[in-house]
Each structure stands twice: as structure tokens, then as C-alpha cells.
């Protein structure tokens, strides 16, 4: 592949990638362009919400997408619906650098985790000072916080947190305790948000003083509201992977494998970990980040504290939880 001149494209083939709509500019410059340069594979992209894109490929076998990057919950659903091609992990040179747990998840779902996020609390230190999840239930936060909506990536994590507050694990009582805790939380909640940029605006306009948020959004929030502080409570957090998979109907499997391997490579994992890049925490264990580089990422200590969510359980109960959530939180 290396013999090709930059101009010709016929040799490397092409691949159609479906990925998140966040930071499309950095995705283009830090991942896709270098990928094409190195492999000579041309990339077409579709940007959008994880769940929307999952819905589309689920209903439309002819979507033309080869590789898809999804949030963990959607990857689990996709796997369950058998939308993904069975992966031959031997074709991925960088797969061996993933942790055992990650490798297991990859084999379970035929989708490879390429980054992970976790949640914490972001707050305006001029107004409040927060350290622990339980503080979110304080009466003096009435009408001052925002939490992720059930339908978003961290919606289930929010439910887990509520379960922890009620001291009954979600998986043990089908969320009964968690919903009770949410009902208690409701007076404090201004908004259940779907887009983390909503938070930027709400902090900016003083609508909220604190929010439960995924770490990937922290950089963006602090850029627009430099005062904001982010904390991952010592009691622990919940992690969520973003996975990449090849679609069953893909006609460009070779190029697709190349892309995934590229995505897992040390060079790229390190690059996109940058705060000005995609701010993606690395999964490649070869990547080492300094403390400042590790800021706002699920890495090191935080990664150790991070608990996982049983999306196989969650997705089975999602429909009824959404309905309950809507009745309690959005009514």
C-alpha cells in the first residue's frame, strides 16, 4: 500500500463510516485524513446521534455503511440484532493492546471499544461546591441541576446512580428503587438534557448551577464557561465505551478492518486523546498520558473507579423505563 502516490485513490479502496456528530472538524483532520493518507482508503462519512444511526442501519440493510461507531448501549443492541459482521480479531494488529475486559466486550458484541467515558458532576464553584453524588439530592439545589435524559448515552448511568442513592441496585429490583430516588431528585432538576451543549447554554445563562455530565463534554463546557469545575466522586463512577463495528452487509471489509486497526493504533489513540482533538480517553494500553493530558478523561485512577453498566440487562428493560422516566421526570 505504501507504494501509492498520494494522488491515486483506486488502490486503497473506500470505506463508509458512520460516526458521532460531535467535533466533526477534529474527526476529519485528526482521524480520517491521516487514515486516508496512510492507507489510501477514501472515507465517506455520516455524522449523527448514536441511536439515530443505529435505528437507520437496523431498518435499512442497504444503508451502504461499512463501519459504524456507536455508544455502548447501541452497540449492544446492534449486536443483539445481529447487525454486525463477525469480527476476525486476528486481522486487528492492535487488538492485543486492549484490556481483557475490553477484549471480552469486543468478542461479546463483535464491536471493538475504542474509547471510554464516564460521568461526573460539573458545577459552578461560585454558587455551589459538590463532591459526591448524594449531594445532588440536597434541598438547596432546588431548580438548579440538569441530568442526562434516559434516552441519551448516560441515561442508564443516571438510573444506576439513582439506584445507588436508594441503595438498591437497578439490576436487582428492575429499577423500582432508582425511580423512587429520581422522584425525590425531580424538584432539583431544571432539565433532562439530550445534548451536552444545552448545558453550556444553561450554565452561561445561569439556568443551572450543576449537572451530571459525561467527561467528554467537559472540555467544551469549560471552554465556554471557564469557571466550571468537574469532579468524579470518590465513591465511583460509571463508564461507557464507544465501540466500532463492521456492518454485516459491508462490501469493503478489508478497508473496514484497516480503519478499526488504525483507530486502535497507539499513534491515533494518543492523538485523539488531546484536549483540542476529540478528547477521547485511550483504550490502547500502550498510550501513556501525563496528568494534564489525562484531565477530564476516564483514565488511570478514574478508570479504575469506573463501574460498568450491564447494557444487556438495561436494553431489555429500556422501553418500560423510558415510559416511567417520562412520567416522572418529563411531566
Amino acid at each position: 500500500t505504501s507504494a501509492c502516490s498520494a494522488g491515486s485513490s483506486s488502490n486503497g479502496g473506500k470505506v463508509v463510516l458512520s460516526t458521532f456528530g460531535l467535533s466533526t472538524k477534529q474527526m476529519q483532520s485528526d482521524v480520517l485524513k491521516p487514515f486516508t493518507k496512510e492507507t489510501n482508503v477514501k472515507v465517506s462519512t455520516q455524522f449523527g446521534d448514536s441511536s439515530t444511526r443505529l435505528t437507520q442501519i437496523q431498518h435499512n440493510p442497504n444503508s451502504g455503511v461499512d463501519v459504524i461507531e456507536l455508544a455502548q448501549n447501541n452497540a449492544v443492541t446492534g449486536a443483539k440484532k445481529k447487525l454486525f459482521a463477525k469480527l476476525n480479531f486476528s486481522k486487528l494488529k492492535n487488538f492485543k493492546y486492549l484490556s481483557a475486559a475490553q477484549q471480552k466486550l469486543a468478542k461479546q458484541t463483535n464491536s471493538v471499544p475504542y474509547t471510554l467515558n464516564s460521568i461526573g458532576i460539573i458545577y459552578n464553584p461560585k454558587k455551589v461546591n459538590l463532591k459526591e453524588w448524594n449531594q445532588l439530592w440536597d434541598k438547596n439545589l432546588k431548580g438548579k441541576i440538569a441530568i442526562p435524559d434516559i434516552t441519551t448515552t448516560f441515561g442508564p448511568a443516571m438510573l444506576y446512580l439513582a439506584g445507588d442513592h436508594a441503595k438498591t441496585a437497578v439490576t436487582s429490583d428492575n429499577g423500582v428503587g432508582a425511580f423512587k430516588a429520581l422522584k425525590e431528585l425531580k424538584p432539583n432538576v431544571v432539565k433532562t438534557y439530550a445534548q451536552s451543549s444545552d448545558l453550556s447554554n444553561m450554565f452561561k445563562t445561569g439556568e443551572i448551577e450543576a449537572a451530571v455530565v459525561g467527561d467528554y463534554a467537559v472540555g467544551m463546557l469549560q471552554a465556554t464557561n471557564p469557571d466550571l469545575k468537574y469532579v468524579v466522586p470518590a465513591s465511583g463512577t460509571y463508564a461507557n465505551y464507544d465501540n466500532v463495528a463492521i456492518l454485516k452487509n459491508s462490501k469493503n471489509q478489508d478497508a473496514a478492518y484497516k480503519y478499526i486497526d488504525f483507530r486502535l493504533s497507539e499513534k491515533i489513540q494518543k492523538k485523539v486523546a488531546g484536549a483540542k482533538s476529540l478528547n477521547n480517553a485511550p483504550v490502547n494500553t500502550q498510550v501513556k498520558l501525563t496528568e494534564s493530558e489525562a484531565a477530564n478523561k476516564t483514565y488511570g485512577d478514574i478508570a479504575k473507579r469506573a463501574k460498568t453498566i450491564d447494557f444487556f440487562y438495561v436494553n431489555d428493560h429500556m422501553a418500560s423505563w423510558i415510559s416511567k422516566w417520562n412520567k416522572i421526570m418529563n411531566q
Binding site: 441511536s51 435505528t55 432539565k191 433532562t192 444553561m202
Partner: protein, 290 residues
């Protein structure tokens, strides 16, 4: 605008009648295949239920959350119509009574926001309505309120956004109706002793009834079915039917449910428009000259 304008073939023309078929069929087939067929396709599964054909709908309506979304959608639409009408009437009157060239400039000015991207228009209100936004700053400065009001991401902000979205449509429609009125009718009322206010309510408004209802129906239908405004200014806590359709369909992948809501939305908006049109006819006391 929704009303089909009256077609009148004045005199029979000696022309190949077959030509009509060739001219109409392409557009007819297009609308048939791409509007009616898809609607039928999404409607059919919603009636295929083991229990009864309506059980999907019954289940949908038994969920109080859904009923709340429906009533919110309806309430927002009605409120928007009323506000748009109250704001639109005076300015329409004012524009319609300007000299021709001034009227043209004003009409263009009104048209401009109407032709501006909906994202842009709604987004502007985020800047204004936020807790720290222009409006709150203004109110606080004037000591109208002591604490900033939470307007953004509420039903109120959706209504404000919708009003902004549809006010130009109402004005454009009303200016048209008012321009058609015979100004001498109002002069006659004045000569007969009617003050301007009396003339407004007893002479102008009654004559405008059909125009007002046409405008109202446009605004109502537009607000009922609008997606972008509630999406940007409402957020998920304040879903309306169209944002609920999208959420069900694409975020949650529940197409059956999305179809049910879609059908309910079409029925509700069609029914409301039909009722409004009936009311309009009842109120318009002028005999129709068929």
C-alpha cells in the same frame, strides 16, 4: 392559502381533451405514490393488532404522558394562534393602509424573517430568553422581577418561538385580506357616527372573519406540526407530538409507536382545521354566492 382557490373554466375551448390527461398524470402519480402510499404504509401496521384494530391507539392514549404531550401540543398551538392574531392584526392594518411603495418595503421586511432559516430564527430566542439573556437583564434592570425568570426550555419559550415563526405568515395573509376591503365601508361607518374603536370591532373585524380564519388555520397547522422550534426551544422535558415522533422513531427505534403518533397528529390537526373552518363559516354571516 390552504383553501383551494376557485377554479373556473370560463369558456369551453376547442382543444384536444386528451392533453389534459398527459399534463396531469405525472404530478398526480407523484403525489399519489409518494404521499398517500407512504401514509397508508405507516398506517396499516398500527391497525394490525391481535386484540382489536384500535388497541394500539387505545394503549397509546392510556399513557398519561402521551396525553400530556398531545394536550401540550394543542395548547401551544392554540395559544400561539391567539397571540399571533392579537399581534398581527394591528400591524397588518397599519401596513395595508400605507402608500403602495411603503407597503411594499414593509411587506419585504416582514417576508424576510419568514424566509430565514428556522434554526436561525429559533436560535435567536435562546440568546434572548435565557436566564442571563437580554429579556431577563431588561426585566431586572427595570426591577420588574428580582430573580431571572426561567423561560427557556418551557412551553412558554416554544410558544414565543412559534409566534415568531408564524407571525409573518399571519401578517402577510391579513395584509392581503385587508387590502381587498373597501375603505369606503369604514368611511361610511364614520359618517354614520362610529368612532375608530367601534369601527374596528363592528365593521373591520367582522368583514375580516374569513381572512382571519385562513390565517389562524395556517398558523395552527404550522404550530401543531412544527418540529424545529420545539426541538430547539423545548428540549426533552417539553416534547410535542412531532418531536415525540422523531424521538420514538429515530432515538428509540420504535416505529410502530411513531406511526401511531403520526396518525394521531394528522387526525387531530385535520380535525381542528375542519372545526375552525366550520366556525369561520358560521361566523361569516355574508351569504355565499355560489
Amino acid at each position: 392559502m390552504l383553501k383551494s382557490s376557485k377554479l373556473l373554466v370560463i369558456t369551453e375551448v376547442k382543444m384536444n381533451k386528451r392533453a389534459a390527461i398527459y399534463l396531469i398524470v405525472p404530478a398526480f402519480t407523484g403525489v399519489l405514490i409518494f404521499t398517500f402510499f407512504p401514509l397508508i404504509q405507516i398506517a396499516i401496521p398500527t391497525f394490525q393488532n391481535n386484540q382489536s384494530i384500535f388497541s394500539e391507539y387505545i394503549r397509546f392514549l392510556q399513557n398519561t404522558y402521551n396525553v400530556q404531550v398531545i394536550s401540550r401540543t394543542f395548547l401551544i398551538a392554540i395559544t400561539t394562534v391567539v397571540i399571533v392574531l392579537i399581534m398581527g392584526l394591528p400591524i397588518s392594518l397599519w401596513i395595508a393602509r400605507q402608500r403602495t411603495n411603503v407597503k411594499q418595503v414593509l411587506s419585504l421586511l416582514i417576508l424576510f424573517p419568514m424566509l430565514t432559516n428556522a434554526v436561525v430564527r429559533n436560535f435567536a430566542w435562546i440568546i434572548i430568553l435565557g436566564r442571563d439573556g437580554i429579556l431577563n437583564k431588561f426585566f431586572m434592570a427595570l426591577h420588574i422581577v428580582n430573580h431571572p425568570l426561567s423561560i427557556l426550555y418551557t412551553n412558554v419559550s416554544i410558544i414565543i418561538g412559534s409566534v415568531y415563526l408564524f407571525l409573518p405568515i399571519m401578517i402577510t395573509s391579513l395584509v392581503g385580506s385587508i387590502s381587498e376591503l373597501n375603505i369606503e365601508v369604514e368611511e361610511a361607518a364614520a359618517v354614520l357616527g362610529a368612532t375608530p374603536l367601534k369601527s374596528f370591532f363592528r365593521i373591520l373585524i367582522p368583514q375580516l372573519t374569513p381572512g382571519i380564519f385562513t390565517g389562524c388555520i395556517l398558523v395552527f397547522a404550522g404550530t401543531m406540526t412544527a418540529y424545529t422550534t420545539p426541538q430547539i426551544l423545548g428540549g426533552n422535558r417539553h416534547l410535542v407530538m412531532s418531536t415525540l415522533i422523531y424521538q420514538q422513531a429515530m432515538t428509540l427505534g420504535n416505529w410502530q409507536s411513531a406511526s401511531v403518533i403520526a396518525i394521531v397528529l394528522i387526525i387531530i390537526s385535520a380535525l381542528s382545521m375542519w372545526i375552525m373552518r366550520r366556525i369561520s363559516r358560521l361566523l361569516d354571516r355574508r351569504p355565499s354566492l355560489a
